[in-house]
């Protein structure tokens, strides 16, 4: 269990030497308790204290990086069970499975597809994050060939090696030296050899257990063999088993500080039915997987899953915002209506959705209100006549319009006179209070 600041303070040298950057040892202890600093900042801490504090201050789910370079994926470090409590920290990685029994051309196609999967989504670059190479043939030579192919076709994508054969593991790991791969497939029969191979290659060891009891035994065994970085598979395959085991693992790690399960989780969503695979992968996103493995990464599926991951991993305390600018909906001509709203993402989505429903092409000015909705932004002084006038004045939009007319939300009707004063030559029209009034409002204008 986590120690309090005072308990930590008792273990510190109490010299107040300030070398850690804090004014006193007590202040340092408080920062440690809040996980805002790390123990290695203290040069004089005793070995005994290090051991005690190290165990207590380690995050309940170990941080592990998959891969290296620009496309590496951080895993672990999660602190909550429900996203409304606090932001989920490290978005899970999507991995596409490539079997060494595939024809080379098919394997190449899947690798290239994954490598080219990146799309831009609301300002974030999203992609298939990793390749899961599977030693289905059981043949070390074919597995090695597949690993070599991956290192030429998708050299910067992180790799998970799936094999239960330590010799196959060794060969493939050789092509991935220094790449922080995952070696998945350590079971009751091979764990000693697999642990050796993973350690030698500085890879993360993937535990392939049959059930939760065996999983705990295997992680303890791996730890005793000197393995520090692991990812966990309890053997869950049905959606119900995945929900159950992933929930147990997250709860045990966070609420009981149960060390044998304090590692990132790998979830196998693989299904022949692509739509079902998408839904099971979605469950992995929602319920605690750090890596989700799938058969195929088609574009329609990627778009849906990337979007879901983005939704689930947004910070619930920071309103989602859209960029301040003038958006075109449809193909607005010079006579098209010109409306304004705030940049809270839900406000934007609802307003732009209703404009789309109306089938009337419009320009929609979205003003930065720090992510607040119209009424809240107005009340907080972020959506005022002066600010609106400044935004519209500086936007240069008037050159595109035949008539200088701006439609404002009905909730801020009170601002219309003040905006007209500050934007000479403009006519301000009061629109509906709610977005669902927009189709009727826009259609009535002809």
């Amino acid at each position: 269990m986590a120690l309090t600041g005072v308990e930590i303070f008792k273990l510190l040298p109490k010299t107040n030497c300030k070398k850690c950057g804090q004014p006193t040892c007590l202040a340092f202890a408080m920062k440690l308790a809040q996980r805002q600093t790390s123990l290695d900042k203290c040069p004089d801490v005793s070995e005994e204290a290090k051991e005690k504090l190290g165990a207590a201050s380690a995050p309940p789910i170990r941080p592990i990086t998959l891969g290296t370079g620009a496309k590496c994926v951080k895993m672990g470090e999660e602190m909550v069970l429900f996203r409304h409590e606090k932001k989920f920290v490290n978005p899970c990685a999507f991995a596409v499975e490539i079997k060494d029994t595939l024809a080379t051309a098919d394997a190449e196609r899947k690798m290239e597809e994954a490598a080219a999967s990146e799309i831009d989504r609301v300002g974030q670059k999203l992609r298939v994050d990793a390749l899961y190479l599977s030693n289905d043939s059981g043949d070390p030579a074919r597995f090695l060939e597949l690993a070599r192919l991956a290192s030429t076709k998708a050299p910067d994508l992180p790799v998970i090696l799936g094999t239960v054969n330590p010799d196959a593991a060794e060969g493939a790991l050789g092509t991935l030296a220094g790449k922080k791969a995952v070696l998945y497939g350590a079971n009751a029969g091979n764990i000693s050899a697999m642990a050796e191979k993973a350690k030698a290659a500085k890879a993360t060891l993937g535990i392939a257990a049959k059930n939760m009891d065996e999983l705990c035994e295997l992680t303890e065994k791996a730890k005793s063999l000197g393995v520090e970085d692991m990812v966990l598979d309890s053997g869950a395959r049905s959606a119900g088993e995945i929900l159950r085991d992933n929930t147990y693992m997250r709860r045990a790690a966070l609420k009981k500080n149960f060390k044998p399960l304090g590692f990132p989780v790998i979830t196998f969503a693989n299904r022949a039915d692509g739509m079902l695979e998408t839904l099971v992968a979605g469950l992995g996103v929602e319920k605690y997987a750090s890596i989700v493995v799938m058969n195929e990464a088609e574009r329609w599926k990627n778009l849906a899953l990337f979007s879901l991951r983005q939704n689930i991993y947004t910070d619930p305390q920071v309103p989602m915002q859209v960029q301040q600018k003038i958006y075109k909906i449809g193909e607005p001509g010079p006579k098209a209506p010109f409306l304004i709203t705030t940049n809270f993402s839900l406000t934007f989505f609802i307003v732009s959705g209703e404009i789309e429903n109306s089938k009337v092409a419009c320009r929609l000015a979205v003003m930065d209100s720090e992510g607040l909705s119209v009424l809240t932004a107005w009340a907080a002084g972020k959506f005022t006549a002066g600010k609106i006038a400044q935004f519209i004045g500086e936007s240069g939009i008037e050159g595109e319009l035949e008539q200088r007319e701006l439609v404002i939300p009905g909730y801020v009707a009170i601002l219309s006179g003040a905006i007209e004063d500050k934007l000479p030559g403009w006519k301000i029209t009061v629109g509906p209070r709610e977005a669902n009034g927009l189709p009727a409002f826009l259609k009535a204008r002809g």
Partner: protein, 315 residues
């Protein structure tokens, strides 16, 4: 080392609500655990999927979903019978979209006739929905409720602006009621309290915390549902111990991702499966966060969600 599962049990329980008549009755709620957590407590009722039909042809639906119903959507009863008999709908959600002042302004009397015809033709439970025009809904839903008297149908949505009239109509005709507020646990709680203070039985109430679509606010609905369910179970809050509704189809089938052709946006992939995935992913996320009743449009999406639910039972 044997693993001791960190199970959680709650004192609260969701009301079990039966909707519909006779053999077609569907039971919602009744669980005392988080969604699909049957590994740690009782979870009797399975979530149900209602297919959405409208009283007018679905001109505002995108082609990919409109096409499926091309031969039947000219008449709401034919359409509903197709959903019941050929698509295996657990329930029918009749949206009286044509009563909206901008969509034809069909009268309350005609809407009530559609409801009567529908009830005579189908066996599965009926969910009667207004056009989401708070004012028009009051007159339409009052007449619709009379037409559905004592059929144990569901009617809605009662919102802050019109709940008194609609809840009174549901009460007078012995119907179940959907109460909807906008993405806020406190608003949901407040509306449920106001409705029960009128004498409406809380065991006849379904909460709609307001749905949304993947990428268009999904995380708000998802978290409001989780918070409502946790309040109901862990804090044993009786005002929130209602089954929850996710009205998915209407939000999903208006976003760009379910309409833009692949030719315009090749990186988004095939439109057909993209649209189905959009609805199915949205619906299954809401199942995981607490929905007991889904309203959906595309049969392929509903089919995928059914398979997903069946797998969720395998523990």
């Amino acid at each position: 080392m044997p693993f001791t599962p960190p199970k959680e049990s709650f004192s609260g329980k969701i009301c079990e609500i039966g909707i519909g008549r006779g053999d077609g009755t569907v039971s919602l709620g009744g669980q005392s655990v988080m969604p699909f957590h049957s590994f740690e407590g009782a979870a009797p009722g399975k979530p149900a999927i209602a297919f959405e039909v409208q009283d007018v042809p679905p001109d505002d639906w995108p082609e990919t979903v409109k096409d499926v119903f091309r031969d039947v959507s000219g008449d709401p009863v034919t359409w509903a019978a197709y959903c019941q008999d050929s698509l295996g709908a657990d329930a029918i959600a009749l949206r009286l979209a044509g009563t909206h002042p901008d969509r034809g302004d069909i009268s309350a009397e005609r809407a009530a006739e559609t409801v009567s015809r529908m009830l005579a033709a189908i066996k599965v439970p009926l969910i009667i929905l207004g056009s989401n025009h708070a004012e028009k809904d009051t007159s339409v839903l009052v007449r619709a409720a009379e037409a559905a008297k004592q059929t144990n149908s569901v009617i809605g949505k009662a919102q802050e602006a019109n709940y008194k009239t609609i809840a009174a109509a549901a009460m007078a005709n012995d119907l179940k009621l959907i109460a909807m507020s906008e993405l806020d646990i406190n608003l949901s709680k407040q509306l449920n309290i106001l409705i029960t203070q009128m004498g409406f039985d809380r065991e006849k109430l379904i909460t709609d915390p307001m749905s949304s679509a993947l990428s268009y606010g999904l995380e708000y609905t998802y978290s409001v549902m989780e918070r409502i369910r946790l309040a109901a179970l862990a804090q044993n809050d009786p005002t929130l111990q209602t089954p929850m509704l996710a009205d998915v189809g209407m939000y999903v089938w208006k976003v760009k991702e379910t309409q833009a052709p692949e030719a315009d946006l090749p990186e988004w992939g095939e439109l057909g499966r993209r649209g189905v995935a959009w609805e199915a992913v949205t619906a299954s996320a809401f199942l995981v966060s607490g929905a007991d009743l889904l309203i959906m449009r595309h049969p392929d999406a509903a089919g995928a969600v059914k398979k997903f639910m069946a797998e969720m039972e395998v523990q």
